[in-house]
């Protein structure tokens, strides 16, 4: 074992059976903490007829009721204002406010103590160390430092590792690219959408080839792109850098990461989180690799507003492969495949927007941007795909390949509209490329 490869060489290589013991004991600890410090959690468990003392084994964990985002929305804006009854510490202990982006409804408020912030950056330290960040790195972070958690903890973690951090906050994209060039930054963190957008602006507006810049690694978060092979390839080709995936969420923390070996998936940090995969139809917990389901997650050490059996709606599956990096933390295959909210039935077939992205980004003559619009005429569903042709590329030269690949990967036919390069909307952070205009978008119908 080369311990320099691991942030924590003991935890990251601990045999799975021992990790399970650690998870169980930590689960009991956080459950007991929440039960005794939060009215919300106490009421939730009392209603289910359970107390922490009823949890005797790992199998008992699934008896604990799940927490939905909607439940967190309902309790907030009440005392202790604005967080409500899930708060487990006196209000004066809260040092940081963040909120979710509100993509799926009213934003959820997230209080953290300073210890929770130390924990956030600790989780991110596992991520960055595994991706090769070291004290010699100069890390450029081009995001709007604001109420969204985004790369805040990545910033603190990079500092903890000993890197030099350049906060590229209130700068426009061109200024950010010039700053990377001026300072010879070696690493960067951004959403996949913004990584591609920056490359596009550098190349086509500034005449700078991003691959000639000094960036040698990029950590992505916020969207599945870095786990989609064709999108990852586009980013790596554009920047001449390794691109690594990572997944986290405001209410959860930084729970998974791709290591330097790029195993086509992400390690779950099983020392800090308990990830369960639930069959969407039956509610059964899926232990074996190869079956997709919805992630139910517990942050084992987050204290101010605990995250216990949170229904994240992220769709994932365990990988049967063991990573050659030596970590015992299990892999989820292909990272986060999508969200249960987004995976929907079209013409009776399940459609995941990431499958369309994989196809579009795999075709050289198409630009990075695209848009998918699902609507219906009467009872018949229709899917419109808008794509951009790169300059000097003709529709005829790619149309058959695009249609064939879409049919192959999604089992669906599309009405394809072609646009000139640069015509479709550009996004700076997270993209909104999938629009379902049908009246009924029914998650219940999802069959994975």
């Amino acid at each position: 074992m080369n311990s320099q490869e691991y942030w924590n060489p003991v935890l990251e290589t601990m045999p799975l059976e021992k990790l399970k013991v650690l998870q169980f004991k930590k689960f009991k600890r956080i459950l007991n903490w929440a039960y005794t410090h939060s009215k919300f959690h106490k009421a939730l468990y009392d209603t289910a007829g359970l107390t922490p003392d009823d949890i005797h084994s790992f199998d008992d964990i699934k008896k604990i009721p799940k927490v939905e985002k909607s439940m967190m929305r309902e309790i907030q804006n009440k005392d202790p204002f604005p967080y409500g009854d899930a708060l487990c510490v006196p209000l004066e202990e809260v040092s940081t406010y963040r909120q979710t982006s509100g993509t799926t409804g009213q934003p959820v408020y997230q209080p953290d103590t300073w210890q929770d912030w130390e924990w956030w950056s600790e989780c991110w330290s596992f991520v960055l160390w595994a991706q090769g960040y070291r004290p010699k790195d100069r890390v450029f972070i081009p995001f709007g430092y604001n109420i969204f958690v985004a790369f805040w903890a990545g910033h603190y973690a990079a500092e903890k590792l000993g890197c030099e951090v350049v906060p590229g906050g209130v700068l426009d994209t061109q200024s950010r690219i010039l700053k990377i060039q001026e300072l010879n930054a070696t690493a960067m963190m951004a959403t996949p959408t913004y990584v591609l957008r920056m490359a596009d602006i550098a190349k086509n507006k500034m005449g700078i080839d991003p691959a000639e810049l000094s960036i040698n690694k990029i950590t992505c978060a916020g969207e599945p792109g870095a786990g989609i092979p064709s999108t990852k390839k586009r980013m790596e080709d554009a920047w001449g850098a390794k691109v690594y995936d990572h997944s986290g969420a405001t209410e959860i923390g930084a729970w998974s990461y791709e290591c330097k070996n790029q195993p086509c998936g992400m390690h779950v940090n099983e020392a800090m989180f308990l990830v369960e995969i639930e069959d969407i139809n039956t509610g059964e917990i899926i232990e074996e690799p190869g079956r997709k389901g919805k992630m139910i997650i517990t942050a084992l050490d987050r204290m101010a507003q605990p995250c216990i059996r949170f229904d994240s709606k992220d769709v994932i599956e365990w990988d049967s492969e063991v990573c050659s990096c030596g970590r015992s933390f299990r892999l989820i295959k292909g990272g986060v495949i999508g969200r249960a909210d987004d995976i929907t039935k079209v013409k009776g077939v399940l459609l995941s927007p990431t499958a369309i992205e994989e196809v579009v980004r795999s075709i050289d003559g198409l630009g990075d941007e695209f848009e998918v619009i699902v609507d219906n005429q009467g009872d018949v569903d229709r899917i419109k795909l808008k794509v951009e042709l790169m300059p000097e590329v003709t529709k005829l030269s790619i149309e058959n390949t695009l249609k064939d690949q879409l049919r192959l990967k999604t089992n669906l036919g599309y009405q394809i509209e072609y646009y000139d390069y640069g015509s479709l909307p550009r996004y700076e952070v997270k993209a909104k490329r999938f629009k379902d205009l049908r009246k009924k978008h029914i998650e219940k119908e999802c069959r994975l």
Partner: protein
């Protein structure tokens, strides 16, 4: 770390630092620069506990 069997020794040191900082924080109520910095340092010590002490407390490391 070359010798992982030293984790028990490491843990003893972590707990000693924690004890000292806890005392300092409690004693320095009228001295914000001491109490608040001690509290902040305790948050960092908690990360050492998550990385090392939990494994000892939960009997996951053989002595």
């Amino acid at each position: 770390m070359k010798d992982l069997s030293n984790l028990n020794v490491v843990n003893d040191k972590i707990l000693k630092i924690k004890q000292l900082l806890t005392e300092l924080e409690a004693e320095a109520e009228q001295f914000p620069a001491l109490s608040r910095n001690s509290k902040r340092a305790l948050a960092s010590i908690k990360m050492l506990e998550l990385n090392i002490s939990d494994m000892i407390a939960f009997d996951l490391i053989e002595s």
